[in-house]
Subunit: 305 residues, 2 copies
């Protein structure tokens, strides 16, 4: 078994390590030469200097696995591969692409008889050790061809791996997975903030979350991680209250809106992330002014910059 | 070690079994004689015919553990115990009481030198086998006295057990725990409903949730249970879309409101439960009429009863 890995960031590098530990031959390319060299030295990956060189190093029928940021970078890489690959080759996108982009890209590749597989990959930095949960869309034939590779990446050959259906469904299911993740994270964070808000008691959030890990209804892997960082520091004074998003929550909310299916919690969790970044808070300024306008309530002066 | 258990429903009965398996002497009372007899026969519990008889069967200083529905039933039982118990005895409320009621009841008992411990208990019907997560409020002295019992109920003597602080804090932490649970449940349910809504694909929710259990960021005990029932039936056609609540989510939302701490996801999850029961949906009727009033949009006739 062998494959070409394009993108050797946090996810791609660890997946390469796990594949190599499973005796898969991996040739890899990344725009950052240091990332390539590290995996050559450490994991016996074969280095490629470009996407074109990578394709040349693999014998057809090839499997090219992309672990790139969603959006233009993935789009451009697939465009390159469309020109470089041969009929019968397979492109697997393991990134967090929007499933509609994946369906479009699959059609582009299919016109050249290149197969496309959209593989939602979950597990973060723990996947190297624990394995990755894999939600995989694609034809039965393409899925069967990449299955031996998927079994090595998964937590076990028969666990954490699902063929979700046709192309697009893998990234769709991963999108929903991440939408759920937003809601879970926000639920935990709200509850912990309510406990932290009790200034009459000194609730030990580290001890409480640690206790919840065992026997409680809210036990989860996210809770394990949360108890872990709270044990080191529960004030979190050094952490800016600013939450990024990578797009999956937005797409989940868009799905809810386009289909008319209510998703109030996932949507509210997404909006809470947006609010965390809105340091100007023009909305709150407007509300303060409206209260002044109809009720004469005083506004507070803005903090000095 | 011994204690008196009042309330032998699903939770109290299984906790009695777990305590008996740990060689704790348990005398028990329930208004339902069959529940008492079952535990006498099966677990070697000593039967009591009344709260008064139960207290008489225990040597002071006593520990009385309540596993009763929150509200009037708990209130009444604690009122009875205030008259029956002696200084130095301890009342443990393991039910889902509002922490402010627990603080008030503690003061009532303290006036008679009876100690009160509020023990939040999580684990549901699985606690018998797995142990219960215990969040326990009360004085250091009272906590120390019940600690040997708590260690038997917990998943392990050193796990799933936390002394949260003074009286009230145990039920407060349990309240927050359940508020978080509402948000998590709603997040999973919304995501799964979005997948079920894809009529162009047939996404196998049982296979997907089973895969998520291994290696994914959303893995949790709730997901384990969800994958379990979806494996048996994922249409859920026989289940009325009606969700009860036991009060903990309401109290969490009230806490957020009274303290001015935002909890949009927990609150939205609570409101979604209310909406599930609102078959009349007067709100939606009003909205339909408002659209008609300003835009001439047709309303649909009500379904026949």
């Amino acid at each position: 078994m062998q494959l070409g890995m394009i993108g050797l960031g946090r996810m791609g590098a660890n997946m390469t390590r796990r594949l190599r530990a499973g005796d898969v031959g991996v040739a890899g390319f990344d725009r950052n030469p240091a990332a390539v060299q590290e995996l050559v030295a450490e994991a016996g990956m074969r280095a490629a200097q470009s996407t074109e060189a990578l394709v040349g190093q693999l014998a057809p029928p090839r499997v090219l696995w992309l672990m790139l940021p969603a959006g233009d970078i993935t789009e451009s890489a697939i465009g390159d591969l469309a020109d470089l690959l041969a009929p019968g080759d397979i492109v697997v996108d393991g990134g967090n692409a929007w499933y509609r982009d994946s369906m479009r890209r699959s059609a582009l590749l299919a016109a050249r008889d290149i197969e496309f597989v959209d593989a939602g990959v979950s597990g973060g930095i723990w996947g190297l050790e624990n394995g990755y949960a894999l939600m995989v869309g694609g034809s039965d034939a393409a899925f069967a061809r990449v299955l031996p590779l998927l079994r090595i990446l998964a937590p076990a050959p028969d666990r954490g791996l699902v063929h979700t259906g046709p192309v697009g469904s893998g990234h769709f299911v991963k999108m929903i997975h991440n939408g759920i993740e937003y809601g879970m994270m926000q639920a935990y964070a709200e509850g912990l903030a309510l406990m932290q808000g009790r200034d009459d008691w000194t609730l030990d959030l580290a001890a409480i979350t640690e206790a919840w890990r065992h026997g409680s209804v809210v036990q989860s892997w996210l809770l394990d991680l949360t108890a872990g960082f709270l044990a080191r520091d529960q004030a979190l004074a050094g952490v800016q209250p600013y939450v990024q998003d990578s797009g999956e929550g937005r797409w989940t909310a868009i799905e809810a809106i386009e289909r008319g299916i209510p998703a109030p919690v996932i949507s509210a969790a997404l909006m809470a992330r947006f609010a965390s970044r809105d340091s100007g808070n023009y909305t709150a300024r407007l509300l303060a002014m409206m209260r002044q306008a109809f009720g004469g309530h005083a506004t507070l002066p803005a903090a000095e910059e």
